[in-house]
């Protein structure tokens, strides 16, 4: 028996990944390394690096489920962004990839590519998803219109907690001295900027789908249980049409997010998934606030937590590069 918010096209393996993740995260969504023992950090990465194998499509239900539980685990950006990018580099550091995939080291990822001034001196500031205790910071660095991928260990930056509106995941701010970045801290790979953007877009799209799904499910339960004027509020047409709009937006975004996950070469589809899903999640979570009435405004109800996570995702991916990609003809 599937629920209306389940993705209809999951295969048996993907459904199992969802079920396991749902169980683990129901037991503790605040664990920053949840799923390490289960190999989550290495889903979709070549087993030669000691990882789980499979494809990004196999990782997709996990990413959605992490959003659904508003979970803190670094599995999403480790398995979805850091590990595959490092594995695809020109000279992959197998030992490091293995340490990230098995959870021995944690990585934080920059929210956006970072311009590096050509004149020396001064520090640059990088806001990132991941805690201050991350062993590495993965950040695309833009210098003279070329992009390099920086992998900065702790001694190349000063980290502080970033007090984010998104309280469900750790965010950090890193102060970097550009002159301290040397060749050892750079990862070389073909089409680096596109690969980084594509991976980030796919991860944030699926997280947004999960976040919205949680808000919608809460709203439907509330609609059936809360009574006013002597009947459940979900029976009023003005109410139910808004719920259906939320479901519709969710289902559309879910389809494009999973289809983008299944085709790693399609950067345009990944951009569409990120832009659509992140805007959808802000919309759906916002509707959830309204449709819960004053309860929706409270810290305790948790709708606000979802809304803030959704908006954080949207702020990250709603950038000029995605707008440019989506208004350029597909090849």
């Amino acid at each position: 028996m599937t629920e209306p918010w389940d993705y209809s096209e999951l295969n048996a393996d993907q459904r199992e990944i969802w079920d396991v993740a749902d169980k683990v995260l129901s037991a503790g969504h605040e664990d920053p390394v949840a799923g390490t023992a289960l190999g989550w950090m290495g889903i979709g990465t070549d087993p030669q690096f000691g990882a789980m194998g499979g494809t990004f499509a196999d990782l997709a239900p996990l990413l959605e489920c992490v959003g659904y539980h508003a979970a803190a685990t670094c599995a999403t950006w480790t398995a979805g962004i850091a590990v595959p990018l490092l594995a695809a580099s020109e000279h992959p550091d197998a030992a490091l990839i293995e340490q990230l995939a098995d959870g021995r080291h944690r990585v934080a990822i920059a929210a956006a590519p970072l311009p590096v001034p050509t004149d020396t001196g001064g520090e640059i500031v990088c806001d990132s998803l991941g805690g201050v205790d991350a062993a590495y910071l993965l950040v695309p660095l833009i210098r003279d219109q070329s992009v390099m991928l920086g992998l900065l260990p702790a001694d190349r930056r000063v980290a502080e907690d970033l007090r984010s509106i998104d309280i469900s995941r750790p965010w950090s701010r890193h102060h970097i001295d550009p002159s301290a970045i040397d060749a050892k801290n750079l990862v070389r790979a073909p089409d680096l900027a596109a690969a980084w953007r594509c991976a980030r877009n796919r991860v944030f799209a699926l997280d947004s789908v999960g976040t919205a799904r949680a808000a919608l499910q809460k709203t439907v339960s509330y609609a059936l249980q809360r009574e006013q004027f002597g009947r459940p509020i979900g029976g009023f047409q003005a109410y139910k049409h808004r719920v259906v709009d939320a479901l519709l937006r969710l289902k559309l975004a879910q389809s494009v997010a999973y289809r983008a996950a299944a085709d790693p070469s399609d950067g345009r589809l990944a951009a569409a998934a990120a832009v659509e899903a992140s805007a959808m999640a802000s919309f759906v979570c916002g509707e959830a606030v309204q449709l819960h009435g004053a309860i929706g405004l409270t810290w305790e109800a948790g709708i606000g937590t979802l809304l803030k996570r959704a908006r954080a995702n949207e702020i990250v991916v709603d950038d000029r590069a995605n707008a440019m990609t989506l208004t350029t003809s597909p090849s």
């Binding site: 059936l224 139910k240 259906v244 289902k251 559309l252 389809s255 569409a272 832009v275 707008a323 989506l326």
Partner: protein, 398 residues
Amino acid sequence: MDDMTDFRAEVRAWFDAHAPHDWKLALPNMNNAEYGDFQCKWLRTLGTRGFAAPHVPVEWGGGGYDVHRQAVIYEEWTRADAPALNLYPVSLFHVPGTILAVGTSWQKDTFVRAAVDGTVWCQGFSEPGAGSDLAALRTRADRVEGGWRVTGQKIWSSNADLADHCLLLARTDPEATRSQGISYFIMDMHQQGVEVRPIRQSTGHEEFCEIFLDGAWIPEAYLLGEENRGWQVAQGTLATERGPVGLEIIERTRTSLIELGAALGDDDTGRAAVVRQELARLTAHAEAVRAFAADMVDGAARGDASFGSASLLKIAFSELLRDMTGYASLISGLSGLVDPGQRHQVGFVSGDWTIDWLGSWGWTIAAGTSEVQRNIVAEQVLGLPRESRPGAQMGVNR
């Protein structure tokens, strides 16, 4: 994948070689007969490769293409700027969808191949007193020797003034109420007792019509499905309007958005930047609607259609069409003010954006309004309580 690349190249070459040119210039001056000839000629040209009805099995005159190939055909059709088949939606979608599902062998042999080859069909569902509440219809079919005599009035019937046949709902059991006692007929439009009056729309087109029925004759063999069980048959017809017909609109909308984006070039300053942001948002949404349709098609191919997804898709593609054409109209500058004076509709995404926008509400209203679809999903998919009302809802026709 290579297969699909080859197929696309083949379809593109075919449209390059066969799509009519200069048709947009000729169209405003065409009278009804010339418009009918123009549409029929193009339909038959498309029909040589099965492109007019790509979803219909080959044995019934269609192309028999899988849905991934259907999408490619609509993409290349749009890319070639070739005319849509506005005279034939009922002939190409509703007739095969309904008659192949419930018709007798004689009905299938007599009507389906001919419809795909250019007989014009219209739909007689809605009435002045029965729109969203279709079960309130009052047109009567009285039993007589060898058939029925029909009396009543139908409305919002697209192309009825040019139609050869009509898919008609009429009440056959005057004692029964609501959806009981309704039968589904094929009706010949060329006869005494059938009078058609076109209705002018805000687009300037006279595409839909009123039909006045005064003792029109329907022979026994023209009953579709069982007598008094027409309501169930009609559900199938309406489902065709919520499904495959959407693929064409989605592809046309998406292609138009790609062209509008490309027209911005590299300019990312001032107004161009603002327009780019909104086009990107619409494009992302169009890709999502397309992905949802593709999932639905894959599900249907497995025999695993999730209930309510057709209603969701109908809301999605019709509102996408409205939003895209509306924005294109707004950014088209003063050319958006000009009424091109087309007497005949030339597709829902013709590039005359303001006219397309005005026409787009046809899709959010026809075949069950967006509001009716939302009720269906809320109650039957999400399990929210019904508001009290006397009976089931359906929709108006195209």
